[in-house]
Symmetry: none
Subunit: 232 residues, 4 copies
DNA sequence: TATGAATGAGGCTTCATTCAT
DNA sequence: AATGAATGAAGCCTCATTCAT
């Protein structure tokens, strides 16, 4: 059970193995229900070694949060290619986000569920990451407005409220996409872009947002929502 | 500390006291960190009595989830007055939602954080409630479309995707509103309606949604959502 | 092994059983080497009950120290019958002291060895007891001097230095008496009284001993106690 | 922190560094609370090397005890210059004793507190040292008596009882002097010499003290030391 | 209806000690 | 001569749960 027992690894490698095991265990069982015993076994290592390298359950959990938070923000930042127009950046950033959360469900569970549920210290850790993402999204929205030669006076406070809502919706959709078989990251991103860009009001007015076509992209091709042809 | 020690109460009353204590404790400490000892003390009752009435920690937690879920859905359903037009219903339903979550932070923590974080059994319990709400919102959106004489062929699947997003955003905003001092339920509802109805696209087109003034409502006075007619 | 397993005792009784077991275990094994498991078993009780009543190993140890300290001071105070002349009081107090330490070797080990060796907190606890005893002895010495119509100006500071030395010697002799088979409490008390009353000087009739002046010596010069000229 | 990390030292030197670190750690933390990790780090050496040289924690502790015991007895023996008269020898021996314990508080803690508190094996080790010192003091007392042309028949058993008391008092005073700022070794030695030489009896001129006869008393009858008849 | 007394089980953490180089 | 990597064993503590009244 767990990793193959390879002896005498350099510390850095072992630490990553331990974090892997910890993220999986914390993600599945939850922070409190996860036992250090289980984590150590899954890492193919004795418990004292885990303590030697990671100090305590709290520290281990914090290390998990930090690693996963960095991985997620990195994925989003890389996904949002800065050479694209802002709306496309947003869309591809969202796609990267949903792709990452789908590929790392345990990491996502650690960040979105566990870290928020077990104490202010951990919650603060993810709050920092979230703030970073919200700021990033805010910049994208402002850039989009600029590109559209629109509303140069948009107050940042206003926009960051919208960014909050957008990020919040994205988080919820990530859970939903993970829980709903057959929903791809692109579909989730498209749904959210439609929701965010056009709004329900537009939907009823017949205007839709069109996802870009996906040449050479990493994920599945099909868009989720049938997009009617844009109004002329 | 805890409830005043009144002896010999009828069972139904005692049970509610216990559930009150349990919700508070589960909400504050989390499911696992909450101890039956603390709950019993807070309820002003001995531990064996808790077991006599509620059977086990799991059953107690399930009872909490059920009670809080019912209270929340009830609040939303009552808030959304069926005699109003659909968009107004949605707005007032959201307001009721944010009002309830603000007034019952522990109950909301139980439903939104704890129940989703500690095992499939509990998660299923809230999932059922959520599905109910999503269905309700879906109906409201469809009704709104109907009232606007729009898109009679909107497929329910499509709309329920949007409903998902809307509910997801609402959940996130509830946390945000609870954590941000000075944000009222009405403000939260308005923010979300703006986001949902007008979308970011509208924002950049310069169109804004204005909250209606408020005649005879239970909460703050302002009326609901002014939906501007879609631009031709 | 351990106490006979009698079920369902009132708390006060169980607590004493636990303290008995704890004093024995701490006295024999030492504070750190004593395991809560062993104490619980010796008390005929499960470990959680020990924690329920005594809170922690530290608290349990503190409770032991307090109980044994009280018992010892009480024994001494009762032993020194106040109606006797002061020297007799001192002698009978010492006898009571040696009797008690001989009869409660574990309690004595807890006070004299363990409590002083495992942290300031515990040490302070016995220091308080010791101070009380030193004060008591100081009073006895002063009373003896008064009864002998001697040196009414004896400064208390001076005398309490002697009391310190006397108590220190008594403590050491208690260990010695316990370790040397065939030495009774009365013998130990007599030895000490002889030493204290007559001194070695009498033994060799050299009367007062004068410290040499300190030419080229390493330490500070002043002698501490001003030695009064020998009685005529 | 700890010793400067110098590589490749000859074994003898490394061993002393380890013992230095061990004595400090054992003295401060106590035998059980001291960890081999801490000792190794303080010695500026890896743990396996400590085991290579000193074998085990027990052996290491024993080595500490032996080194410190030898150092202490050596200091006393050197301090008591044999060319002086016996009383002077005693005084300077005591001074050397108090000087040494004041300069090596950790070593003294190891000998006086730790070694006596953690098992018969270690206790025996210091008991040997103590016996040696008691014998030495006994000889000094006998010599003093001889020099005073007194009591040539003093039985050694009697005197060694007094030596016991004297040494016990010295041990206690060493702790007291270390704990009381401003008390020098010479002062401590003088206090003890005064106490021993003049006694309390002189203080009140009551000369010899006679134990009461023991009618109906709880303890064993025999007094230990034959008390010579009081001077007229 | 209600509770004081009691425990089996399990989790976090630390330590003395060794292996392989 | 010296060490980075690793672990078996054990200790403190807490908890959900029950018994006997």
């Amino acid at each position: 059970m767990g990793a193959v027992k390879t002896k005498r690894m350099p510390r850095a490698v072992r630490e990553q193995q331990m974090l892997d095991a910890a993220v999986r265990t914390f993600g599945n069982r939850g922070y409190m229900a996860a036992s250090m015993d289980e984590i150590a076994e899954l890492a193919g290592v004795s418990k004292p070694l885990v303590y030697l390298y990671l100090n305590s359950k709290e520290d281990l959990f914090t290390a998990c949060i930090r690693r996963e938070a960095r991985a997620l923000t990195e994925a989003v930042r890389v996904g949002a290619r800065p050479e694209l127009p802002a709306d496309r950046q947003l869309w591809s950033g969202l796609t990267a986000f949903f792709t990452h959360t789908a590929r790392h469900p345990d990491g996502w569970a650690v960040l979105h569920l566990q870290a928020r549920t077990h104490g202010e210290v951990f919650a603060a850790e993810v709050a920092a990451m979230r703030a970073e993402i919200v700021a990033f999204v805010t910049q994208l929205i402002l850039a989009a407005a600029r590109e559209a030669h629109r509303d140069p006076d948009l107050r940042e406070a206003e926009v960051s409220g919208l960014a909050e809502a957008l990020v919040g919706a994205a988080e919820s959709l990530a859970d939903w996409a993970n829980a709903t078989p057959g929903v791809t990251a692109r579909q989730a991103a498209t749904t959210l872009m439609n929701f965010a860009w056009a709004g329900l009001g537009d939907l009823m007015a017949g205007r839709h947002w069109t996802p870009p076509d996906d040449s050479g992209d990493v994920d599945a091709p099909a868009a989720q929502i049938e997009v009617t042809s844009p109004a002329g």
